[in-house]
């Protein structure tokens, strides 16, 4: 059974039109070129605004919301939480470069010592447990507020995710890429189906956002949620929407996906936290 699966997996890998022999840099160039050609009226920097960069009507409504955005309450709360010392007297600033200010664009990164992808939320919780505090829930609440504050202090900073010259880093990137292009769930759809090939099209009453620049505005205040949520909250939701069992938040699958997904948007600026429908 295992051998058959391995052979099948290998066959699928070869069959995938994009993976054979392409380097991550080539993938990234192809990816960005695809969206620039698909949406010629959208300047590159504007892709950080998702559907609002490709649809004028919804952009107008979104700009009105941005005048006094709902996530402002979360940023204030996040700042308070970020500055509050742990029971041992230390603060989050002690765990991060530059005291945790203006560093959102460095995540996720591949940690060559640990051999895994580190996301911002993972780093936040590891900071807590290292200082004797309980870990926070991964998808919403305090962790989203703290992540929102950290993203807000990093607005305008350009993403430049690196893939270190380490076969494990490349493997993580490849796993993330494979996840993105692989069909899953009862509806048998891949992330790429909605967000690359059908980006800009309508799915019931919603417009499909382009995958380019998709993560720059996280954590996100979604009107649907009536609150703020993290990247992995949305990943789980997307998996559920195609009727696939979601992976655990901050598990290897979603971290590898986030690694690939963010790398594809190198060159774009942080604009989190964001407000979306």
């Amino acid at each position: 059974m295992k051998k058959t699966l391995a052979t099948l997996g290998l066959a699928l890998m070869i069959a995938l039109p994009l993976s054979a022999g392409a380097t991550p840099k080539q993938d990234q160039e192809e990816f960005q070129k695809y969206f620039m050609e698909r949406f010629p009226n959208t300047p590159f920097e504007d892709f950080v605004n998702g559907v609002y960069s490709i649809d004028a009507a919804s952009r107008e409504q979104w700009m009105e919301i941005e005048e006094f955005a709902p996530y402002e309450l979360n940023i204030t709360k996040g700042e308070e939480l970020f500055n509050k010392p742990f029971a041992n007297g230390k603060t989050y600033a002690s765990c991060f470069e530059n005291g945790g200010i203006g560093i959102r664009q460095n995540y996720p990164y591949f940690d060559t010592k640990r051999g895994e992808v580190i996301t911002l939320e993972l780093a936040i919780n590891e900071c807590r447990t290292a200082n004797g505090e309980k870990a926070l829930g991964w998808k919403k609440g305090a962790i989203a507020d703290i992540s929102a504050y950290m993203a807000y202090t990093s607005r305008g900073n350009i993403f430049d995710i690196e893939i270190p010259d380490d076969p494990r880093a490349l493997a993580a990137y490849d796993r993330g890429k494979k996840h993105f292009y692989q069909k899953r769930g009862q509806l048998n759809m891949a992330c790429a189906d909605c967000h690359k090939f059908y980006a800009g099209n309508l799915i019931r009453a919603d417009l499909l956002s382009p995958a380019l620049g998709q993560l720059t505005h996280f954590p996100v205040y979604r009107s649907k949620w009536g609150g703020l949520g993290t990247t992995h909250r949305r990943y789980a939701g997307c998996n559920e929407q195609v009727r696939a069992k979601p992976f655990p938040a901050q598990g290897e699958e979603y971290r590898d996906l986030e690694f690939f997904h963010t790398y594809m948007s190198n060159g774009l600026a942080v604009n989190g936290p964001g407000a979306r429908k």
């Binding site: 005048e67 006094f68 709902p70 309450l73 204030t76 009536g226």
Partner: protein, 103 residues
């Protein structure tokens, strides 16, 4: 944490005030998914805005207004540098207020 964020801007004699209020605005119609019991209503019932000691706007709200409400209104008779004060009272007797400078 203060529950009101206020921004006020005066232009051509008209002051536009925008405020984002942090409040659960629980309607009283929702049921707790675990216990099956109704979650008691907890919402702002009255909101007032004052300028120079005079009330310039008052609103009667209920459970139909959503969580963390955003309100925007305009009024005449203020100048940049003046102060606007917004206060709310809810059905559980809680209240809060905040002031902001009109820019």
């Amino acid at each position: 944490m203060a529950t009101l964020k206020i921004r006020a801007k005066e232009q051509d004699g008209v002051t536009t005030v925008k405020t984002l209020i942090s409040h659960p605005m629980e309607s009283g119609q929702r049921k707790d998914s675990k216990t099956g019991k109704l979650i008691p209503g907890h919402y702002v019932t009255e909101l007032t805005a004052e300028h120079n000691g005079k009330q310039v706007m008052s609103a009667n709200w209920g459970g139909g207004i959503s969580k963390n409400p955003y309100l925007s209104f305009k009024f005449k008779g203020a100048a940049a540098g003046d102060s606007i004060k917004i206060s709310w009272v809810d059905n559980m007797g809680k209240s809060d207020s905040a002031e902001a400078e009109i820019k």
